[in-house]
């Protein structure tokens, strides 16, 4: 049933409805993964700044290791390993955790750059006022470090969108998986896969606009 043409009827009757049915899985996986990545990444970045070498060094190496190995392998690793430790998660959750963990390492690099950009005087003023490290980070450093790095974080949000198809490897039914199912059921891949590509293009564009909005909203007051 192949052939070098495009079947519009097939597109609208079968492919589009089925894809729209699962688009929320892709979006949910992305957003949850990003939440995990953005928060964990900040913790990693702060941890790597620790003056205690027993925290900063191993953490740094672990972060580099996760960053330097493929996300797919990490997905498989968690998927097969966690049950052995008694943690039985649905595939979706496993995928989100792997995605979030992997991108947390990218985000931590972004946060590190942002944190390093804070003038030393801010740290010194906090010390002079005897603020605890917790409050120094929470009230002084982070509010200044985060807004400038939002564009970079936003880029990773978009990148994560485009990596959700990896979840199809552990049978999470998101866009890619659904397209594969359509293809194997109808022996026809053209419409399904092309449409998935279009979906991602469109979602990337929407996400880009969203990121720019957030960036503007977070701009430092009084400037």
């Amino acid at each position: 049933m192949g052939g070098g043409t495009w079947d519009w009827q097939f597109t609208f009757e079968e492919v589009l409805p089925r894809l729209l049915d699962v688009v929320h899985v892709t979006i949910l996986a992305t957003l949850l993964g990003f939440l995990l990545a953005a928060s964990l990444g900040l913790l990693f970045a702060i941890g790597r700044m620790s003056r205690n070498p027993w925290i900063s060094r191993p953490l740094g190496e672990v972060v580099e290791f996760i960053r330097g190995t493929p996300l797919l392998v990490q997905i498989f690793f968690l998927y097969f390993i966690l049950p052995d430790f008694g943690i039985v998660l649905p595939a979706f959750a496993t995928g989100v955790v792997a995605l979030g963990l992997h991108y947390a390492t990218y985000c931590s690099e972004v946060y590190r750059a942002g944190l390093e950009n804070i003038p030393r005087g801010q740290w010194e003023a906090s010390t002079a006022l005897n603020l605890s490290p917790f409050h120094t980070f929470k009230d002084v450093i982070i509010p200044q470090a985060v807004p400038p790095v939002v564009p970079a974080l936003g880029n990773y949000l978009i990148a994560m969108f485009k990596e959700t198809p990896l979840l199809s490897f552990i049978a999470v039914v998101e866009l890619m998986q659904e397209a594969k199912l359509i293809g194997s059921e109808w022996f026809r891949y053209t419409e399904a896969i092309t449409l998935v590509g279009v979906f991602f293009l469109v979602m990337s564009l929407i996400a880009s606009v969203g990121v720019r909005r957030v960036e503007r909203a977070l701009r430092l007051p009084g400037r």
Partner: protein, 243 residues
């Protein structure tokens, strides 16, 4: 080369892996060869993919800067489409959709093509950025010396642009190497697929996937240090490079 703590960590990691491998001697024979065969495929994909990515990136990067409108549009379309869609989608498209239009590719060819085109799109921006970062004054000096366009590009602009490109390209090469894992989807037995298959039969998840990750990490470090060495060599005399 000084022995930094990270080197000590890497040596430790390597020895640890070696230790596990030796400790499970029976398993050693079962899965290490399979993993290594897969690693060879991964390296092949990486080398060929990076070569294609470089070529496409230069074409598209310069194409985007071209004064000829259709060339620009073609370049921009290529860049936006391949950056804005998922690498896996592109891989599937090349391997499953093209046959429906009569183009049949071997898994290896499809993998190289998909990865090369994907990373090439990101690389195009790197090339463009680097060429545009060469100071205006260099162009003006060439005009003052009455240098022809090609001579200027070849002898003055490109050498400087290339040096600026090396760190981001290093990152892209590592990204490409990590992306080779995707070819498991088209049943190409790379390191990841080999690990997956071996895990199905032997189910020694930690060892198999752990060693696979160590191999990937080792490859990424090889790329990183090669790039650093390359940059140091090329940056000699340019007053640039790592401090």
């Amino acid at each position: 080369m000084r022995l930094a703590p990270r080197h000590i960590f890497l040596i430790f990691l390597f020895s640890f892996t070696l230790g596990i491998v030796v400790a499970s001697f029976a398993g050693f024979r079962t899965f290490i060869p399979g993993l290594l065969r897969g690693a060879v495929v991964t390296v092949q994909l990486t080398l060929l993919g990076c070569a294609l990515a470089l070529a496409l990136a230069f074409l598209a990067g310069f194409g985007k800067m071209s004064s000829i409108a259709p060339v620009r549009w073609l370049a921009v379309t290529y860049i936006e489409v391949f950056r804005g869609t998922s690498a896996l989608v592109q891989l599937f498209w090349i391997f499953f959709v093209l046959p429906e239009f009569g183009i049949f590719l071997e898994p290896l060819e499809a993998g190289v093509l998909a990865l090369g085109m994907n990373v090439g799109a990101y690389g195009a921006e790197v090339v463009r950025g680097a060429v545009q970062s060469v100071p205006r004054g260099q162009y003006e000096a060439c005009t003052a010396l009455n240098m022809g366009h090609w001579a200027m590009m070849r002898r003055v602009i490109l050498p400087q642009a290339v040096v600026a490109m090396i760190p981001p390209w290093g990152n892209l090469f590592i990204e490409l190497m990590k992306a080779t894992a995707l070819v498991s989807a088209i049943t190409l037995t790379d390191l990841t697929f080999a690990a997956y298959q071996l895990n199905q039969t032997a189910v020694r998840t930690i060892e198999i996937f752990g060693i696979a990750m160590v191999i990937y990490y080792g490859l990424s470090q090889v790329i990183r240090y090669s790039m650093l060495a390359l940059e140091n060599r090329l940056a000699r005399g340019l007053g640039r490079g790592r401090a």
